[in-house]
Amino acid sequence: MKKIYTRPKSLKTNPFHYCPGCGHSVVHRLVAEVIDELNLQNKTIGIPPPGCSVFAYNYFDVDMAESAHGRGAAVATGIKRAFPETIVFTYQGDGDLAGIGTAETIHAANRGENITTIFVNNAVYGMTGGQMAPTTLSGQKTTTTPYGRDVALEGYPIKMSEILALLEGAVYIERVAVNSPANIRKAKKAIRKAFQVQIDHLGFSMVEILSPCPTNWKMSPLESWQWIDKEMTKEFPLGVVKDRTGRADAD
């Protein structure tokens, strides 16, 4: 019998600890599939952040090194500069990348560091219990915006992909979502292209992934998928934000 679907080699057999409906496990799988397909398992180093995905090192079967909160891009810079033969990806949440790690991220992108960033945007601080993130939508209720995010007091949801796209060193930035089979397929294509950019030494690449957090959004998994379509993509439109690779598509 022909096997058409199997666990990627770059994913360990440990069961995910993520909540039902969480996007992390889908994103993990996509990244692992890409690592397999590009034959990168034995030369990849992954940098997970503090946050729900701190345990990513229990799932990816590649070398993994924990980073301090927000410092992933700086750690990846040190790795890549000291050992350019490796393929480095950071796996970062919105609090990590768009809050505490803003400086590290912007400057790594501006230097054109040849690294790949997987930016999981679920509009809340997940692991700490659903506090407001830099990407929390206007009016969105979180544990620290119990009356809804008031932009007059708390500012606006920050659009990191668009900010980074202004930098010369950023080569490829795309925003995708993992809230439907079609979108998941698009997300994988984007992740694959981001890694290919690094393989081809083109510079900084990032895929922003709108990802459901049913637990902290206080929704069912299905409602959280719908909420991404109805609310999140209004603030964070899907698509290629920047592409200076000179290629129309990863394929």
Partner: protein, 350 residues
């Protein structure tokens, strides 16, 4: 050569592959030296980072893949690096961190001071850890201890702090480099370089299991005990017949030495104990001295930090006095000589 440049040259000769810096006075000559001399070397890298925090995290990344890596700063910048130093310590990663310290607290001044002793010798960041702290007192020693810092860091898989100050960094002295730069850059054996021909590895500290973290802490402290036994270093000067011993480190020890020569010429029996490793502190040497000498004068360019280690080492067996000049004031040898002779006579020493 000025002290800061000497550190840079010694680091290159020790096989330092990566330097990550950020401008702050009084250590800029080191960053500039590395920009000029390390950045174009084959396989090496120099980055002027966007912050001290980024610089130390780049060191962490380079150390992960087995490179000899270094950063440098001065007091306020070293505060920013503490997060990264804690992670380096926890993940058992070698690194060399230079602090050419200046007056504090706060932005303080750009003038030499020794007010970072506590921060350097008590870990500095969060968590239960130590770093080896080396305290040179001349440009030659800056060069020698820089080389040693890389060796110690690799040997014990620990961050090593080279604690100098603004005077040492700026002063010009002749310096002899005892090593040639290695033909090939050293790569640590346990480096994280991809799971090629071996299972994948994880470098991490986070755990939800207290027993696991307790074992990590025990493992660190077993190594710290070993370092205490094997690497404690100090210099003594004219202590054989001394009635009073001045305890000072770094540039203050250099000033004290001058003062001791002056008071010796007037017949006062005064010696010097200069810790070279501030952590581990030369406790055994103090305890050996205290069998014969009961009077100690701790002299620091701060309000009294190392004095606590002197008290701990003496275990009540000696009398301790203190002279300190904080805030970047650099006392002259004659000022210190006056303090020594006044104390000597007050205590009725002969």
């Amino acid at each position: 050569m000025n002290g800061n440049s000497a550190i840079g040259e010694a680091a290159i000769r020790a096989g330092c592959q990566c330097y990550f810096g950020y401008p702050i006075t009084p250590q800029n000559e080191l960053t500039e030296y590395m920009a000029a001399h390390l950045s174009r070397r084959k396989g090496c890298c120099f980055i002027q980072a966007e912050s001290e925090i980024s610089a130390i995290n780049m060191v962490y990344g380079a150390s992960l893949v087995g490179a000899r890596a270094m950063t440098s700063s001065s007091s306020p910048g070293i505060s920013l690096k503490q997060e990264g130093i804690s992670y380096l310590a926890a993940c058992e990663l070698p690194a060399v961190i230079v602090n050419m310290s200046r007056g504090g607290p706060g932005l303080g001044s750009i003038v030499a001071a020794q007010s970072d002793y506590f921060q350097a010798t008590r870990g500095g960041g969060h968590g239960d850890y130590r770093t080896i702290v080396l305290a040179p007192s001349s440009v030659q020693e800056l060069a020698d201890l820089t080389h040693k810092a890389f060796d110690l860091a690799d040997k014990y898989k620990i961050p090593v702090i080279l604690l100098g100050d603004g005077v040492l960094g700026q002063m010009m002295e002749p310096v002899e480099f005892k090593h040639e730069a290695p033909a090939e850059l050293p790569v640590r054996g346990d480096a994280l370089r991809g799971a090629n021909g071996r299972p994948s590895k994880i470098v991490k500290t986070f755990t939800s299991n207290p027993a696991e973290l307790e074992e990590i802490n025990w493992s660190l402290f077993r190594r710290y005990s070993l370092i205490k036994r094997q690497e404690t270093a100090c210099e003594t000067f004219l202590v054989e017949d001394a009635k009073l011993i001045v305890v000072a480190f770094g540039i203050a020890a250099r000033i004290a030495k001058g003062a001791i020569k002056t008071v010796r010429s007037t017949g006062l029996k005064v010696g010097l104990l200069r810790p070279i490793t501030l952590w581990p502190f030369p406790v055994e040497k103090v305890q050996e001295l205290t069998k014969k000498v009961k009077h100690y004068l701790v002299f620091e360019m701060n309000m009294g930090q190392m004095i606590e280690d002197v008290h701990l080492a003496l275990e009540g067996q000696g009398e301790v006095s203190f002279y300190g000049r904080p805030g970047g004031v650099i006392p002259t040898p004659s000022e210190v000589a006056l303090v020594i002779s006044r104390l000597y006579h007050q205590k009725g020493l002969k």
